[in-house]
Structure formats: structure tokens, C-alpha cells
Symmetry: C2
Subunit: 147 residues, 2 copies
DNA sequence: ATAAAACCTAAACCTAAGTTTAGGTCAAGT
DNA sequence: ACTTGACCTAAACTTAGGTTTAGGTTTTAT
């Protein structure tokens, strides 16, 4: 059993954030002693799940829905499975989007490294694509199509 | 030269969002004719960059800083390079975090598929880890360490 | 027994990134 | 010339996810 201060340190979360999560219903079965919260293993498990799902862009309301389903027993197993399959797909496409964004960023890194070397990017704007490294070149050709 | 309505369709952005970006200074050199915005190729380029960097979690203020540097000429080349190198690292760690989150999600998918098959997750809570698929098993062992 | 540290609530406040509303102006087709 | 659709601004409103503040308990250490 942990106090809110211990949890705060353990997971490096602001105390007010933990209280806010509680207010939003993210610890459906948390215990109290004289009004003071006592976090047990299942509450710690909730925090780990919250932290993880938040990273994938899941809203606190959705996460609460899952945690509530967990306390409601076997009748909600299908809902829970469906939720995780959806979140898996969302996360896969996020990774994909980030990789695409990374291509632009890598291009810009190459561009500004060259520009800094030359002291200017004037000549770089009309550079022959055959003077670009291969990955940069193929990104550049694709990028031009958006316009 | 495009109107705001054309840009809105082309990039599937709400018109108010584009006006908001303009208000925030994200089209530093946009032209107007009788008060009406005319988007040229460089404004289109800005939109592509904005969309891309936003996905990596960059704030509009940071993006504006970059766009402003672009209009200020060669003296800001170093700043721009530094910004993209930082953003590259941030994006790489975001991808990493998402992959970690995906491990939990894959575990949960496995867990609830099993549970749905069995009609209950009671027995699953004490399952022998040797009955888990290998990837699931290695995630599970690691996950237990957080507690 | 008492002071300090850690806990509590309710409510106000904050920020980013928009969206909505109200009241107007401009441009294109008939 | 006139109507309609597309454009304009300023300002209020919205949402999520907190953070801060003010005023009050509880626990812990001396």
C-alpha cells in the first residue's frame, strides 16, 4: 500500500495530476483510510496502463472506460478486446506517420548541413537532384508531388 | 495563386484553422488583394511543413520561429539546422516510446483474445508464462518488473 | 504536546489549438 | 443591378489535461 506521495515519486507524476486522475475516475476501486488514499497493486497497474495508453494518444475518458470495464467482469471482455485491437491499429499508423515526418526532417537536416557548410542556401535551392544522397533524393522527388 | 477555400479543400483543413494559422504568423509573407488572402507556392510549402512538424509534436510557436528564420536569410542557417537536429532526436524517441506502448497493447490483445475464447479471464490471471507466445512472454516478464 | 510535513477538497486558473458567432465586404453569374 | 457564395475580422467559446490557490485535516517526529 502506497501513499500518494510515494506514487508521485515512483512514477514521477505531479501529486495534483494523480488527484486529477482519481477525480476523473481512473482508480475505480481505490481505498482510503481517514480520507487518505491508499494505492494498492491494482492501482499501480492502472497507472502503468494509463501512462502507456496516454502515449498512444488515448484520451483519459477512453482509458476510464477500459478501467471501468475491468471492474465489470466477463461480460465486457469483447469490448476490451475490440478497444485494444483499434488502439493497436491507431498506434501502428501513428508510427508510420512519424516515420514519414522523419523523412522530411532528415531532408531538412541534410539541407541545412549543406547550407551551413556553404555559408548560404542560395545555390542549394536549384541543386541538381543527382548531387543528393540517395535517400534524400527519393524523399525530395516524392515531396515535390504534393505541390 | 490559391484562395483560402481552395487551400482548405486541397489539404483538408478547416478554413478557420487556416485563418488561425495566419493570425499566429505562420504565413509570414502572404499576399492579399482587396483584403483577400492569395496563397502562393511558398505558402503551400509552409502548410506542408506545418502539417509535418505538427505530427511530431512541435508547437505552432516553434514552427513560426522556423518560418520566420527562413525569411531572415543566411544568418539563421545554424539555428535552423540545430532545430531540425533536435526535432529528429525527439521524433526518434517518440517512435521508440510508441513501440514500447505497442508491446503492452499486443499483450492486451493476446490476453483478451484468450479470455474471449475461454469466456472468462479468471484462469488467465494465473497462467503459466510458458503457455504464452514468446513475444508476449518476454514483454510480460519485463512488465512485472515495473511493480 | 506540538510543530512540521504530508495529506485533503473545491474552485479558480492556465495553455494550446482550434471552432463558433455576429456582423460585415467582395466577386461571379444572370 | 442584384443575388449568392466566398471571403473578411474580432471576440467569445470550447476541450483536454492539467496546475495553482486557499483553507482545512492527519500523521509523524521530537
Amino acid at each position: 500500500m502506497y501513499t500518494i506521495g510515494e506514487i508521485s515519486k515512483k512514477f514521477n507524476l505531479n501529486i495534483s495530476t494523480i488527484r486529477y486522475y482519481d477525480k476523473e475516475g481512473l482508480f475505480p476501486n481505490i481505498k482510503r483510510k481517514n480520507g487518505i488514499r491508499k494505492f494498492d497493486n491494482s492501482d499501480v497497474e492502472s497507472i502503468l496502463v494509463i501512462e502507456c495508453l496516454k502515449k498512444t494518444g488515448m484520451k483519459l475518458k477512453e482509458i476510464k472506460k477500459f478501467l471501468d470495464w475491468c471492474t465489470q467482469g466477463d461480460s465486457t471482455l469483447n469490448n476490451r478486446l475490440k478497444m485494444f485491437i483499434e488502439q493497436k491499429n491507431k498506434t501502428l499508423s501513428q508510427i508510420d506517420e512519424l516515420k514519414k515526418a522523419l523523412n522530411l526532417i532528415n531532408y531538412k537536416c541534410w539541407y541545412y548541413e549543406e547550407a551551413v557548410k556553404r555559408g548560404s542556401d542560395k545555390d542549394l535551392k536549384n541543386i541538381d537532384i543527382n548531387n543528393m544522397p540517395n535517400e534524400i533524393k527519393s524523399f525530395y522527388i516524392n515531396w515535390q508531388k504534393n505541390k
